[in-house]
């Protein structure tokens, strides 16, 4: 296990050094996107329209933050991750089109996303579910917000972060997926549990 502190924009070469079980902290720019923002971003790509922000080398964060507005300034009050599996249907195209290097969320992602991360050079960083204040404290500034018409949880929040983490590298750019490994181990463990409890499979 190695610990990496990376600054955005992150290059493909840098991200390819990371392996599952490594720990990553990010300084620079991360952008939130949930279901609706992923959908719209891919529509833009299809139509050849540019996104409001160039995501190349940045991190996309599956998060619907609690925000408050003081004067004309936005503040991120609580900003933990949401379940990433919902974005699985978009993420391979998202990575391919926008060249994000890190996807941040909780709960992991599937085979399609894992393949795209291997092909284009990206990793999945698992942020601890529920650790909303830890996340909010690493957000030094809300730089901007786009697509507010989608509602505050679904908008693109552009955060300036310092040492945002710890992110557990759970999918790397070499086809490894920690969540899939755990699922395989659980299958094996199930047999042992049934045996211990004297149950029939």
């Amino acid at each position: 296990m190695a610990v990496y502190h990376l600054k955005t924009p992150i290059s493909e070469e840098e991200i390819r050094k990371l392996k599952v079980n490594d720990v990553l902290y990010i300084t620079g720019t991360i952008v939130t996107a949930r279901d609706q923002a992923h959908r719209r971003a891919l529509e833009y790509a299809k139509e050849g329209k540019p996104l409001p922000i160039n995501l190349e080398g940045l991190a996309v964060f599956h998060c619907g933050p609690v925000v408050s507005k003081e004067g004309d300034k936005w503040i991120a009050v609580a900003a933990g991750p949401t379940t990433s599996t919902r974005m699985d249907i978009f993420e391979d195209e998202f990575i391919k089109n926008f060249k994000v290097r890190v996807v941040i969320g909780k709960g992991g992602m599937g085979k399609k996303t894992t393949d795209a991360m291997a092909k284009y050079g990206a990793v999945y960083g698992a942020f601890t579910g529920g650790a909303a204040i830890l996340a909010a404290k690493a957000i030094k500034k809300v730089k901007d917000v786009e697509w507010l018409d989608l509602g505050t949880p679904e908008a693109l929040w552009i955060f300036e972060v310092e040492d945002f983490g710890p992110l557990a590298v759970a999918i790397d750019s070499h086809g490894n997926n920690l969540f899939m490994d755990v699922a395989k181990a659980v299958e094996e463990n199930r047999k042992k549990i049934y045996q211990k409890l004297g149950l029939q499979l």
Binding site: G108, T128, A132, A168, K196
Partner: protein
């Protein structure tokens, strides 16, 4: 009993619950961190402990999902003004949403509109129990959505007996995987009926982690299910490890001969609950969060 006292106590309870984890949950998470052997799992537990500390320091909700607000009221039969308690709890919820603040989490399932203040038809939900005496005991549970999404009710085969229940619990934990933000607390119930089992399972989440069921046979089953759930290897946040659950609480009711209802209720590691007792003379005892108003 004065309505404003009830409202103020309920407000304080919601605030305490979303900012401070109960001591037994904190201790269990610390113990899990000490004992976890998986590196990925340990990193997650460390982040959880850091987050708990930060929430207390900055007086901010532990998690951005401040949950659905559920009250359990244990009302002394001699308490006057019980008909006003429910509206006091609704007002307390509205105030807490603005002042703590909470995330607005009450959505009309028909129109999909969010009420914006955590109240709506049957929400906050109030469970009533009438007991002897002249005191009013209020408990709030603020229940996260991620762990609610994997709760399960099953009508098992009576012929399989307790083995059927064990299977049902293990399969529920495996199916839930990383989704309920493990390490979780499990409320398990059998008997009664589909609704009664889930009601008992959810109420079992209120029991402190260091209190096994007083029935030694049930306590043994709790221990067995706890060990089995932790053998799955799902681990903290599903990244692998030996801490998948912090505790298993089992309750039961007698069942119909033809039915074996079972329920598994999950609570995320941010197991938020708070209890206070209001006495007839208006004095208030905060039972779970002494000195944390």
């Amino acid at each position: 009993m004065k309505t404003e006292v009830v409202e103020n106590v309920a407000f304080n309870l919601v605030r305490q619950a979303v900012i401070y984890l109960p001591e037994d949950v904190k201790q269990a998470l610390k113990k899990a961190y000490m004992e976890e052997t998986s590196e990925a799992g340990k990193t997650q537990l460390k982040a959880i402990l850091d987050n708990i500390e930060l929430a207390e320091k900055y007086q901010a909700p532990i998690c951005q999902d401040t949950g659905t607000i559920i009250f359990y009221v244990s009302a002394g039969a001699e308490v006057k003004g019980l008909d006003k308690v429910e509206s006091a709890l609704i007002n307390a919820t509205r105030r807490a949403t603005k002042e703590v603040p909470l995330r607005p989490n009450a959505v009309d399932p028909f129109t999909q509109k969010n009420s914006g203040d955590n109240t709506g038809r049957f929400i906050p939900y109030v469970h009533w129990e009438i007991v002897p005496g002249d005191a009013l005991e209020l408990t709030v549970m603020t229940k996260g959505g991620g762990s609610e999404n994997v709760c399960l009710t099953g009508m098992l085969v009576p012929g399989e007996g307790i083995n059927g229940l064990k299977k049902f619990v293990i399969e529920s934990v495996i199916k839930a995987g990383a989704q309920p933000c493990p390490p979780t607390i499990l409320g398990v119930a059998m008997g009664g009926g589909a609704d009664i089992a889930m009601k008992l399972a959810k109420k079992a989440l209120l029991r402190p982690l260091n209190e096994p069921n007083p029935n030694p046979e049930i306590a043994k089953l709790e221990r067995e299910l706890y060990e089995a759930a932790n053998m799955t290897g799902i681990g903290p946040m599903g990244l692998g490890g030996k801490t998948t659950v912090l505790g298993v609480h089992v309750e039961y009711a007698f069942r119909h001969p033809a039915s074996f209802p079972a329920a598994v209720a999950f609570n995320c590691w941010a197991a938020r609950r708070a209890t206070a007792r209001i006495h007839a003379d208006g004095t208030v005892e905060y039972l779970t969060h002494k000195g944390k108003i």
